[in-house]
Structure formats: structure tokens, C-alpha cells
Amino acid sequence: VYEPAEDSFLLVDTLVAEWDARLANDPPRCALEVGSGTGYVIASAAVLMRDSGLDDFRCHATDVNPDAVACTRATADAHGVGDYVTVIQCDLLGPLRERLRGKVDLLLFNPPYVLTPSEEVAAGGIAAAWAGGKDGREVLDRLLPDVADVLAPGGTFLLLLLHDNKPHDVAEIL
């Protein structure tokens, strides 16, 4: 399972900063993390939501890796937010896409962003955590068309990118 590293911490730090600056005023009630890995990020989000006094919120986490989903479940439970976090093994939004259409206030993604040959993307195993193919964008590019649909009005998408992933192009697509 991909262990939390600088990129995970950056995502959580950014989430906390956004929370303090803006989100705390009208806290998101529905968060979804694609590729939750150890569950560090989604558990952090769930704790923020719980501690903000919301009694009606829900977090969802997906990952293709069976060890990652088990780990996410355990991490959420360990932080006392297990009852608020749904964990599914699937690709990207998977079976949640239709039912959560227009409902996600906070979408989180630390994608496989390393530039690799395309063949490595579908190779499976732990490489799925970082192999991003051409421009490190092959996995992210499959999610982008669904982002606008799944976000609730005013929803936030926190996405981690390298400069090499051509963030300006990503911004254009969005």
C-alpha cells in the first residue's frame, strides 16, 4: 500500500488550510477520495468534518488495491470515524458515480502521477499507486470527464499534480 509521503501530507495540509480559510464556514457533508491508499487523507477529512460539529456527513473512499481498501477501513476505524466512511474496491468513482452525481462537496485525489511508459499503468500491484503513464496523466485523465458531474454545486476538488503533469492543461480540461 502506498504509505503517506510528502504528497499525502501536502494534500492534507492544503485541506486543513482550505478548511480554516473557507470550508469551515459551510462544511462539506459529502467527501470522496479516489485512490485512498492507507486512508490517511480521507480519515483526516472525516475527522475535520466530525470535529466541526456536523452530525450529518459521509465520506467515501475507493482504491483498486485490496490491501489499500482494507487499510483505509482500518485507518478510519482507528480514528473513530469508521461509521462515517464507506470503503469500496473499484476503479476511480466506480459504482458510486451514478448515485453520487451532483452530491460530492469535497473530491480528493492524489493520483498516480509519475511519468512512466503507458504499459506500466495497467500493470497492477503497487505500481498502480504511482504509474501515471504519458505525462503522468493517464489515470487522472480518465477521472476528469466525471469531475464536473459528480461535484455538488460549489463543490471543491483537491487534486495533487506535479509540474510535469501539465497542470495548466488539466485546468483547461476542467
Binding site: 450529518d56 485490496p66 464507506t86 473499484c90 459504482p95 451514478e98
Partner: protein
């Protein structure tokens, strides 16, 4: 997998029309007490697909939920606790979900559904 989760899952297999709701086949189910949070429950019950919830509860041996969505403002606490129990406290640990349109089975292992598709099943 609790029924709250089940209510959010729609099969995205190629050939599925709505893929919802998935049927549940249980091998192992457990019950785990979860704190009763009335505000959360009411808000959640207003959002779920009640018919899918009732059918799923039936298949897990929690029958006799009302056929139509109840008027939640008129429900007393004992009824709400019944809904809480069905929605949050019953967990399918091992079993599978079945796409209602294609029959494709998705295994549930240690309480987590595996909804990964094969290459030829992706739209």
C-alpha cells in the same frame, strides 16, 4: 458492507441499464452496534432510495420495513431505531452483489465490495 453503502452502489458493467439496486447474496453477515445518531439518521433516510433499502433489508433477514418511505416526522424513536439497525448495524461480511441487469457478481470480502471490472466489461 452495510445497507447504507449498498444504497449508493450502481453496477457500471457494460450492458447494465441502471445497475441499481444490486441484489445481495449473503454468506456471512454480522451485527455491530453503532451509536444512534438521530439527526444523522433522519437526514440519511430522507436521501436514500427507500425501496432499494427495504428490498435489501428483506434479503438480509430484516423484514417488515414499510413498503413506502415513511413520514419521518411521525416516526417514534423505536421505529427509528429499527431503521437505524437495518441501515447501519447489519454488515455483510462475505457474499456477493449481483448486477440486476447483467447478472454480474461482485464479491464482498471482509465487508468490502470488490467492484473492479475486467477490461472487456468497461464501457
Amino acid at each position: 458492507m452495510r445497507l447504507l453503502t449498498h444504497n449508493l452502489l450502481a453496477s457500471n458493467v457494460k450492458g447494465a441499464k441502471t445497475g441499481f439496486p444490486l441484489k445481495i447474496h449473503v454468506f456471512v453477515q454480522e451485527e455491530h452496534e453503532t451509536a444512534f445518531n438521530k439527526a444523522f439518521l433522519l437526514a440519511t433516510l430522507r436521501k436514500i432510495n427507500w425501496i432499494a433499502f427495504r428490498e435489501a433489508a428483506d434479503s438480509l433477514g430484516v423484514p417488515n420495513l414499510p413498503e413506502l418511505p415513511p413520514d419521518l416526522d411521525k416516526c417514534d424513536d423505536s421505529m427509528l431505531r429499527k431503521y437505524h439497525h437495518a441501515l447501519m448495524e447489519v454488515h455483510v461480511k462475505e457474499g456477493y452483489l449481483i448486477c440486476p441487469d447483467t447478472g454480474r457478481r461482485f464479491p464482498i470480502t471482509k465487508g468490502i465490495p470488490n467492484m473492479l471490472l475486467n477490461e472487456d466489461e468497461v464501457c
